[in-house]
Amino acid sequence: MNHRGGLALIEQTWLSWMQHRSFFFLLAFGWMVPPLIYLFVWSTAAGGGTIGGLTRGEFVAYYLVLIVVNQLTYAQTNWTVGDLIRDGRLSKLLLYPMSPLYNTLATELAGKVVYMIFAIPITAILALVLRPELHLSAGQVIAFISALGLAWLLRFFWGYWLALLAFWITRADSLLALQDALIFLLAGQVAPVALLPGVLKTAAIALPFRYMAGFPVEVLTGQAAGVDLVTGFALQIGWTAAAIMLYLALWRRGVRHFTAIGG
């Protein structure tokens, strides 16, 4: 492990990205739109009453937190991993005495800072206007931070192992598009998972996608509590471990394959 080189790389990548901040602000704005639409749909539908036990203000709180969580966990770097492999730029990274994972992590972390510079003020303004309803306890906040960290790890490594299939398949990034679609449907974007109909809800709880975005939001808003909270964390940790193991296995085999056929 070469953390020293990795940290320097992260710092420089961030500086490099700040050169294009308006582009990334636009990207961040684009990602914000679908949850915003559903925020208005559900809060309008709830009106003065409740839907599935959630009031208008609670829907607003749920979706505002989701906007931030979604941007913090979205692993956009994975889209570039396939290109790196396909066009042979990976060769350049393999020459360094440092894992190329650092390179992906660098763009990932650099991106987060740039997106947050945009997303946090916008969400704060929306919160002032839309009056969310959120009752927080210290325990919830601590659980939320843990769930958020795990959600990022899971979403990053899940996307990363999918992207690494580019070692063998020419356009592996179509799988990333599929992952995005499943997250949209099953990770609490269309509706909070608790509101999904029967089969979809069961699928959402069992599959990894809820634990990449919706679950931390449920933890903070108090929708996931008691047994739900414990099983939720267990599944999140399990899926994260699976994603990391898949990454390690595919990376080793992939590099062997790459150096056999040439970049």
Binding site: G5, L9, E11, L15, K92, P97, T259, G262
Partner: protein, 327 residues
């Protein structure tokens, strides 16, 4: 005993390339039944290089030069044979090995596009664990030798190709590699920039005793930089030795250029081949061993204003090998 920096024994690389007939039917068939063809790129080549040597890899496109270089840099796993570079097996890609080498690919950049080269250098210094004092000294030396000056503070995307290439070279030397692989480092550069980079590479090699392996299609690079050349063709090693030797071996003739007061009439002496003739100038090709005698005879019998004897241009020699595929 001589210490070899690079030892290559029977190094072989065969690519497995998927193959299918053109057309829709064949493309559907290839979905479930893939056929492969074995393409030999490097065939059991062997050579040894001492520390501090400058060696040119030459050969036509697709000869196996870059494949060999990539195996030595650890980017490709060979199909057979052995190699030891600085005491390491390259394709194990041990961090201690990677810290000793650098590879410059003329068509690929390692600089970050949007920030000044100086910032990339700092990242590289961290990646290679270069101490701050050594970094400052190295950078000072590189700025001096390559005349980098204010280039370092401008975003890389605003640099010209030549300026960028100077920065690429500097970037690859921040960690003082003991072995330097240069794959077409002067690709696309103008003549004076090429000359400048060559001068720099020679000077760097002299100062630090770094081993340099270079591939280039510009013969001037090889002529000026490499006392020794290794010629690869169709994956086989055809020649290993001084460049001059290659020319002697392959082209056992010399060129005599003559400027004459008046056009000649009548025949030239036996054994002379006219390469070109226009107005008062004449280029002749003669056997190497007959050069002195024929020159004397020409001076005696023809109205000579000026006469020079030259080796055939190295490009011609090389082209002949590339065309014929043998020495």
């Amino acid at each position: 005993m001589t210490q070899f920096q690079i030892i290559v024994q029977d190094l072989t690389k065969t690519y497995r390339v998927p193959e299918r007939e053109p057309g829709l039917k064949a493309s559907i068939r290839s979905l479930y039944h893939k056929t492969y063809r074995e393409v030999p790129a490097v065939k059991a080549i062997s050579f040894r290089i001492e520390a501090g040597e400058r060696v040119g890899f030459i050969g036509p496109n697709g000869a196996g030069k870059t494949t060999t270089l990539k195996m030595l840099a650890g980017l490709l796993h060979p199909s057979g044979g052995e190699a030891l570079v600085a005491g390491f097996t390259p394709w194990q890609r041990k961090p201690d090995y990677l810290r000793q080498i650098a590879m410059v690919l003329g068509n690929k950049s390692q600089l970050m596009w949007d920030i000044p080269a100086h910032d990339t250098f700092r990242v590289l210094a961290e990646i290679y664990h270069v101490p701050a004092s050594q970094f400052d000294a190295t950078l000072g030396e590189l700025v001096d030798l390559l005349d980098l000056g204010d280039l370092l503070s401008r975003p890389v995307r605003n640099l010209s190709l030549g300026e960028r290439m100077k920065c690429e070279l500097a970037a690859s030397l921040i960690h003082h590699p003991a072995v330097l692989f240069l794959d077409e480092p002067t690709l696309g550069l103008d003549v004076s920039m090429q000359r400048r980079l060559r001068k720099f590479i020679a000077e760097y090699n002299r100062r630090h005793n770094a081993t340099v392996i270079l591939t280039s299609h510009y013969m001037a690079d090889v002529v000026e930089l490499c006392p020794r050349v290794i010629l690869i063709h169709h994956g086989e090693l055809l020649y290993d030795g001084p460049l001059a030797g290659l020319s002697e071996k392959l082209a056992p003739f010399k060129l005599i250029r003559l400027a004459l007061r008046e056009p000649i009439d009548g025949n030239l002496p036996e054994g002379i081949h006219i390469v070109s003739q226009e107005n008062g100038s004449l280029t002749l090709r003669v056997e190497r061993r007959d050069t002195a005698a024929i020159t004397a005879q020409l001076l005696r019998t023809l109205p000579v204003i000026d006469l020079s004897v030259e080796d055939p241009p190295i490009e011609t020699v090389i082209d002949q090998i590339y065309q014929e595929g043998a020495i």
